[in-house]
């Protein structure tokens, strides 16, 4: 068991991340140079595997596209939000170094990726029985929520103690990371791809995740106007009027 904690091979790192992430830290010293490449590789492999499963909903080249993009979506919040999150913790009285925060966040994401990959076979089975698109999205969201919650809990446990507003800092950090994760997923869409939509690596940068959520909410209530129709109403000067989106369009696509 001890060998698993100290050997930095990918398999032993996986064991350590899943069973005892704290064992990777030696006292106050975070061996970033030793574990960072392995953790990144773990996220790339596990996230890629989960992306492969998601891509299987549409099949073909979407397998590859989703497998490439999903690790990027998982890593984007870390790359973008860590300085802000550190500032939040310090403002809350938690004395956390940037190296410790990087380590905790990477281990959390690695754990979430591994758990998502572990849920892959079940998701694959569901997608292979001609699941409805909206149900497929809900299954994907469910898997991400379960894996993400455990990942966030892992991050919280790996950070140093203390700080009167520690819980507030946790909640604010998770909100910021969650927003970036959601918007990152929107920017790098599509992952599932509707049966009638064309396969593409990336969609053009248009609107944002909130307009998509709004469109999805309206769709669930029988109002099939997409975010593009709303955007035209708000921003057009009357000359650029487009037809509202129809059910099955890609406007609320994940």
């Amino acid at each position: 068991m001890s060998a698993a904690r100290n050997d930095t091979s990918l398999l032993s790192l996986t064991v350590a991340v899943l069973r005892a992430p704290a064992s990777l830290v030696t006292g106050d010293r975070v061996p970033l140079a030793r574990v960072l490449p392995g953790l990144l590789l773990l996220i790339a492999l596990a996230g890629g595997l989960f992306g492969l499963v998601i891509g299987s909903y549409r099949g073909g080249v979407q397998h590859l596209f989703a497998a490439i993009k999903l690790p990027a979506v998982l890593l984007l919040p870390l790359v973008v939000t860590l300085p802000a999150i550190r500032a939040l913790y310090r403002a809350a009285g938690v004395d956390v170094g940037y190296d410790r925060l990087c380590f905790a966040a990477l281990v959390g994401v690695a754990r979430a990726s591994l758990l998502a990959a572990a849920m892959g076979p079940a998701l694959w089975l569901l997608y292979s029985v001609n699941l409805d698109y909206h149900r497929a999205v809900m299954c994907l969201c469910g898997a991400l929520v379960v894996a993400g919650s455990i990942g966030l809990f892992t991050v919280a446990t790996l950070l140093p103690g203390g700080g009167r507003l520690r819980i507030t800092a946790h909640l604010a950090s998770f909100a910021i990371a969650g927003l970036v994760f959601a918007q990152g997923g929107w920017l790098l869409r599509p992952f599932l791809v509707r049966p009638r939509a064309e396969v593409t690596f990336l969609r053009p940068m248009e609107a944002n995740v909130f307009s998509s959520v709004g469109a999805a909410w309206r769709s669930s209530r029988g109002d099939y106007r997409g975010w593009d129709a709303e955007a035209v109403q708000v921003w057009s000067d009357g000359d650029d009027v487009r037809e509202p989106s129809l059910p099955g369009d890609r406007s609320d696509e994940r």
């Binding site: 068991m1 060998a3 904690r5 970033l32 960072l36």
Partner: protein
Amino acid sequence: MIATATFEPLAYVLGIGYVAVGAAIAIVLSRRGHPSGVALGAFACWPLFVPLLAQRGAAPSPGPLHARIAATLLDLRDAMAEPGAAGLALPDDLAGLVDDLYRADERLALVDRLLASVELRAGRAAPGVVQSTDELRRARAATAAQIEAVLDGVVQLRLQIGLRALAGNSVPVQERLRDLRGRLAAIDEIAAMELHA
């Protein structure tokens, strides 16, 4: 059919800037002796590797007792996390003890590398070199024995925590850890005595 997306010029500028910073950090880390995996990771995700820039060189390699130190300390933490050890907080001295143990272990690794490189050329070594090698080997053995004694002390401490759970006696954890740190601090003196014996 596979469609392609078009992007704003700002997106291209930001992308090129990100890649340029990543390349610069990867080169700096590579020149400081970090392995190629670190440099490659820094190229892709440089914001996560920024803390490494604050370090002066590559992280020291773990020593021969690294595995035992990690296992012993993890067992101690597990014991202190048990319900029977409720009320026993992990004192700050434990973090200091961990640091001291790993530093001593890294020094052992350094000595081992030195001895290995000298032994490769033992056939051609001068008498003075042979004598110095023997002295260093003795000092190394004394240091390793001292680390092992501290690790045994940690195991005893863990057993005392178990005893406290049964008997309800208070265990002077803080004092015990300070004693162990004191033993570690004496490593240099013991090694010096071996060198001058």
